[in-house]
């Protein structure tokens, strides 16, 4: 079963080539962000910058309203995730632990809701929000983002709740806990990792959302970071240094979260709706 030298070599060579292909755009974003402008606008690309500068970051952060965008993004995302968790926890407990008529229907319903074509519904959402005189407000964004991540949160949490052994809960109830107490004292602590990873995925989705905020909030006071980032092109012309610095700032929290979550990404998605 000995493979030839070529047979052993080509997978590794392909892997290296692919690695470079996948990493290069990310690398180029960071390296451009730290390069002096002279190295960015040069006839021959500077592959490995030797001079490091922070001026692009200063320009990116120095944009009017930058901190408003950051605060808005954080408020909207965190509230959406928090709301979704509370609502989903109750629902997923019912779906995972109780037998009742129509349970299957509910699960399928949430699976359909997870595939909702939000990108296509923005006209209707715009009209609803406008008729309620809520344009340029963070409230509609928060509740709609909550809804965007709710089905995924329910379906994933359902998997995590189902994974907690029923015996633990029963033991607590034998010891005199009510069902609610058993839930609070036994299941909830065991669910912590599940809650953590589920909410981080929700966080990523809400943090990245772009079409809805583009349509609903035209005033800078109510905009979020994705809009700040996409407006860089027009506002800064071809200032690629500042644009890449902005992209880096926007992407870093997500990259860190995601790398941290990578293992859970696979198992979480398979446990949730995307059953592989």
């Amino acid at each position: 079963m000995k493979r030839s030298l070529f047979g052993r070599l080509w997978p590794n060579v392909t892997a290296v080539v692919l690695f470079i292909g996948f990493v290069f755009p990310v690398y180029w974003m960071f390296s451009t962000a730290f390069k002096p402008t002279g190295d960015i606008i040069s006839e021959n690309p500077v592959w490995f910058p030797t001079d490091v500068t922070f001026e692009h970051f200063e320009r990116a952060i120095g944009v009017d309203h930058f901190w408003t965008y950051v605060t808005n993004s954080l408020i909207v995302t965190l509230c959406a995730v928090g709301l979704a968790l509370v609502v989903a926890l109750a629902g997923s407990f019912a779906l995972a632990r109780m037998r009742f008529k129509g349970r299957r229907g509910f699960v399928i319903g949430f699976m359909v809701a997870q595939m909702a074509p939000w990108e296509v519904m923005i006209i209707a959402m715009y009209m609803i929000v406008r008729d309620a005189s809520m344009l340029n407000s963070l409230v509609p964004l928060t509740v709609f983002y909550m809804m965007m991540i709710l089905p995924f949160t329910i379906l994933t949490l359902r998997g995590f709740v189902a994974a907690v052994p029923r015996e633990l809960e029963e033991a607590a109830m034998v010891d005199g806990c009510s069902r609610a107490q058993a839930f609070r004292k036994v299941i909830l602590p065991l669910l912590a990792p599940g809650l953590m990873s589920t909410s981080l995925f929700g966080f990523i989705t809400a943090w990245n959302e772009f079409p809805l905020v583009l349509v609903l909030n035209k005033e800078a006071e109510a905009q979020t970071l994705p809009l700040w980032l996409s407006s860089f092109q027009t506002a800064f012309g071809n200032d690629w240094g500042a644009t890449m610095a902005a992209s880096s700032l926007f992407a870093v929290p997500i990259l860190i979260l995601f790398v941290f979550l990578q293992r859970k990404a696979v198992s979480g998605l398979t446990a949730g709706a995307v059953k592989g």
Binding site: F22, V26, A113, I123, A124, V143, S230, S248, F250, G276
Partner: protein
């Protein structure tokens, strides 16, 4: 027919049996009823949110599609019903069909590339040694994790006309006419950039999940195949492929749905341009509706797009539900 008429009676029989075992009396029955309501109460907030925040916009979209709603009506807050005029205009016009055909081609090309390349990368991951696998996984996860808006700006920079890396490389490779090429100047080149971006972003999901699925294939199957004298290729087609088939079906449909509504990538790279030549259905609905302020028309296009997506989703869920029938 006989099977169907025989089925209903078996239901009540089950119920009475259960009642007997529970020693049918007023108290247990009341407890059963209270317990019967709890799951619905627990699900109530989630369902209310879904109806209000997802159902209502959907209904609103349908309602809007039967209205004559342009700039004037929008400002004056008037509702002018115009029946199926919007649909008539959309469906008889040339634009909608051109955009639909374009969306289908765009989706087909992207999904084919994603699935073939993703599957190959996934199989490569399974074959690599530990160190190389971790290296490639790191690269895949980084690409997977890149936020869409950040990724599109990076791709705009990579494909920039002046000082873009891609043009520089093509120039150095001897393709000198590409030295100052503007990728956003033509339909095909814009689609090329969008496709590279989408394929780059989507391969990791397919590859990593496929690799995870291959690790669950019992090694006994391969041993049995080897005992039967199967070579590498034979054991791939008789063991690996059948085992992965349900996964591949489900993922293909998921990718079709995702690519079909790839609004952000297409819109941020070139805004559907040049000359609206790269608009796919969601972008077309947005530009017709919000951009050109024909909200009724936009809503009609949106409803038609949603119908297509609903069909795709139904098919996808059928595949998925078949797999986890027992789990529900």
């Amino acid at each position: 027919m006989t099977v169907q008429t025989e089925r209903p009676p078996s239901g009540p029989v089950d119920v009475t049996k259960r009642d007997e075992s529970g020693l049918a009396g007023p108290r247990p029955r009341a407890a059963f009823r209270a317990g019967g309501l709890t799951p619905y109460l627990l699900l109530l907030p989630a369902c209310a949110a879904t109806v209000l925040l997802l159902g209502w916009p959907l209904v609103k979209d349908v309602l809007l599609s039967f209205q004559n709603l342009n700039m004037a009506q929008l400002i004056q807050h008037v509702t002018e019903w115009n029946g199926v005029d919007n649909y008539k205009e959309v469906l008889t016009g040339e634009d909608f069909w051109r955009v639909t055909l374009r969306s289908i081609l765009f989706t087909a090309v992207n999904v084919a590339l994603i699935m073939v390349a993703g599957a190959l990368v996934g199989l490569l991951l399974a074959r690599l040694g530990k160190r190389m696998r971790v290296l490639l996984l790191v690269g895949l996860v980084l690409a997977w994790a890149m936020p869409v808006v950040a990724a599109t700006t990076v791709y705009q920079w990579l494909f920039a006309q002046r000082f873009g890396v891609v043009n520089w490389v093509l120039d150095k490779l001897g393709w000198h006419s590409m030295a100052d090429y503007s990728w956003t100047s033509s339909q095909m080149s814009t689609f090329f950039v969008v496709t590279v971006l989408i394929v780059w972003m989507s391969i990791p999901f397919v590859a990593i999940n496929l690799y995870a699925a291959t690790t669950t294939i019992p090694s006994e199957l391969y041993e049995a195949a080897a005992l039967d004298g199967a070579g590498n290729w034979k054991s791939f087609t008789t063991v690996t492929l059948p085992f992965l088939r349900p996964f591949l079906y489900a993922t293909t449909f998921l990718e079709i749905i995702w690519v079909f509504k790839a609004f952000v990538q297409v819109f941020t790279i070139n805004g559907g341009g040049p000359d609206r030549l790269t608009e796919i259905l969601p972008v077309y609905a947005y530009i017709e509706g919000v951009g050109n302020q024909h909200y009724g028309m936009g809503a009609a296009i949106a409803v038609l797009t949603i119908l297509i997506l609903l069909g795709l989703t139904a098919y996808y869920l059928r595949i998925v539900l078949k797999q986890e029938e027992d789990e529900l």
